[in-house]
């Protein structure tokens, strides 16, 4: 059964249908795999008992009763509320919180037959780019060879990206606010997709920055990504920004190739100080797309350099509003110190319950929203954001897709960037602009770096054109033929 871990979802479903193995056998096989990954700190909670019960129920179903993802094991970032399980967003302030309800995205997947094996560790409240702000310690990239200098899986969805790299589940869920799916996908050598803002319901996803947060899958390959995404998205009346736009059939033209596609290369993404191997990979990507019959078009996104500072005003501002709910009253952690009054209880609870980076962002957000500074920072940033969106609108009048590197480096050693928040924020330099514009984007593995670590390429499409995005990614994936895998420390 060892080969199953390398198989795509379609083959696994076929194996179940052919009775090559039962769903229970499949689930137990994956559980064994997940248990072997403890040293990477990818998992925040294992949900094996429920998974085995569900597997037994699934096995007893007739062929006709089986749903499209029946028995497929998945891992879920600990930012999705899953009913009856601990859901803490890797924060002490939500330690021991058991969600009484289910997020819409996980409900959709469970309704399609997927089985949740575990919740995965992440940067606290998804604030980070290295999965090193998690309350259970840093998460380790399965590509690490030297455990005295462990590599980051990227962040914030580091646990979910890592478990895919290690073939611990068939797919996993992440959320992406400024790059939190795509950057870890790049660092871990897997596919990571962020759909258009509004495609996946945000109901039941612990909020970070509500105008940016989107759920998406990590998968082994693009075809699995199309399948996972198809079963995640829905219009949801419980999320007022949920989109009613119909999702195009992602499989219809998935394999029809990209002959005649116009692919934009934004000159502003050629940034000083980026390692040459990143630009080399970008060139390889361009050439492969040309080989496939696409036309490369130079485009300009003139406001690109303003995207990061814009993001670091808007995202912390929204976070400071969203995280106001953690007050130690109705759920989560309450400080055990003595209090004179309610205000002191709030301040002590929040001061102790939140970690360093979260507090830093709450302070930034509170400052930029505070009286006298709102216009100069927050309102100004929302106007610059408009300029960034207009850049993309102009570009997508000329091209079908945009190609860029995903991240400005390969996976770095944990602890390398902790002393300088801005150098950590630069990790998202290529992913933040499309987030600010709400565009669908993904990362696919492109090559190994000089250090033998994965490097990703990013494709960006116009809003609601996930079909073009995946067709482009599928074609490029076939041409790149990335087939390296982590050694998992053995």
């Amino acid at each position: 059964m060892t080969d199953i871990l390398k198989s795509d979802i379609k083959s696994i479903l076929k194996g179940i249908n052919n009775k090559d193995y039962s769903i229970e056998e499949l689930i137990c096989h994956y559980i064994k795999k997940v248990d072997s990954l403890d040293k990477f700190n990818l998992i925040s909670e294992k949900i094996y008992d429920d998974a085995i019960t569900l597997a037994k129920q699934a096995d007893s179903k007739t062929m006709e009763e089986r749903r499209p993802l029946e028995g497929i094991p998945i891992a879920v970032k600990d930012i999705f509320c899953t009913a009856g399980n601990k859901t803490s967003a890797s924060s002490n302030i939500l330690k021991n919180f058991k969600s009484p309800y289910e997020s819409t995205v996980t409900k959709n997947l469970k309704d399609a037959g997927a089985i949740v094996l575990c919740k995965t560790t992440m940067d606290e409240f998804a604030m980070g780019s290295a999965s090193d702000t998690c309350n259970s310690g840093h998460v380790i990239n399965p590509w690490t060879k030297d455990f005295s200098n462990p590599l980051t899986p990227g962040g914030s969805s580091g646990g979910s990206a890592g478990i895919m790299a290690a073939s611990g589940t068939c797919f996993s869920l992440g959320t992406d606010t400024g790059g939190s799916i795509r950057q870890p996908a790049s660092f871990c050598g897997v596919v990571g997709i962020k759909p258009t803002y509004g495609r996946c319901s945000r109901f039941g996803i612990i909020a970070f920055a509500s105008s940016l947060d989107q759920a998406g899958p990590f998968t082994k390959n693009v075809e699995d990504g199309a399948l996972a995404l198809t079963h995640m998205v829905s219009y949801d009346s419980k999320d007022s920004t949920s989109s009613r736009e119909k999702m195009p059939d992602l499989f219809k033209n998935l394999k029809s190739g990209i002959k005649g596609f116009k692919i934009g290369i934004p000159k502003q993404y050629d940034i000083n100080g980026i390692p040459p191997e990143i630009n080399d990979l970008w060139d390889i990507g361009k050439k492969k797309l040309e080989n496939l019959g696409a036309e490369i078009v130079d485009i300009s996104l003139p406001h690109t350099k303003y995207a990061l500072p814009t993001y670091y005003i808007i995202a912390p501002a929204e976070a400071s509003a969203n995280l106001a709910r953690y007050d130690g009253v109705k759920y989560g952690f309450r400080s055990e110190q003595k209090f004179e009054d309610l205000n002191e209880m709030y301040c002590k609870t929040r001061g102790e319950g939140f970690g360093k980076e979260v507090k830093r962002r709450l302070l930034i957000g509170t400052y930029v929203l505070s009286s006298g500074y709102y216009d100069a920072y927050y309102l100004h940033a929302q106007k610059v954001r408009k300029k960034i969106i207009e850049d993309f609108n102009i570009a997508f009048n000329q091209v079908d897709l945009i190609l860029t590197p995903t991240a400005p480096s390969d996976a770095f050693v944990i602890g390398e960037k902790v002393d300088n928040p801005i150098s950590m924020y630069l990790n998202d330099i290529f992913t933040v602009p499309s987030s600010l514009a709400g565009l669908p984007a993904l990362s696919i593995p492109g090559a190994l770096s000089n250090n033998n670590r994965p490097l990703g390429l990013q494709l960006i499409a116009n809003t609601f054109r996930e079909d073009l995005l995946l067709t482009g990614a599928y074609a490029l994936e076939q041409e790149i033929k990335f087939n390296s895998e982590p050694l998992l420390g053995v």
């Binding site: 007022s240 759920y331 309610l342």
Partner: protein, 96 residues
Amino acid sequence: MLIDEKITIKIASLAKLELTDNEVKEYSKDLTNILKWMEELKEVDVSNVEPVTSVIKNELHEREDIVLDNTVEQEKILSNAPEKVGEYFTVPKVIE
């Protein structure tokens, strides 16, 4: 320094965060650097630009004000409370 310790203490109190003296020092430095980094946004001419309110063309939809999900039990919700008495969440005394 753009953000001195007095300002950091004021922002922290607005954000309802109790900080240690060391944290106040460190965050004052961090916030100063981060806000300096944001200064470059001032180069962008945004006259006559409307601020973004939504990234996709989407009207905020309304729905009937009815209960959609009444399956969540009160007991389950109360079980997450750090302190409770009977059916109530409890907090330190507010009124003398």
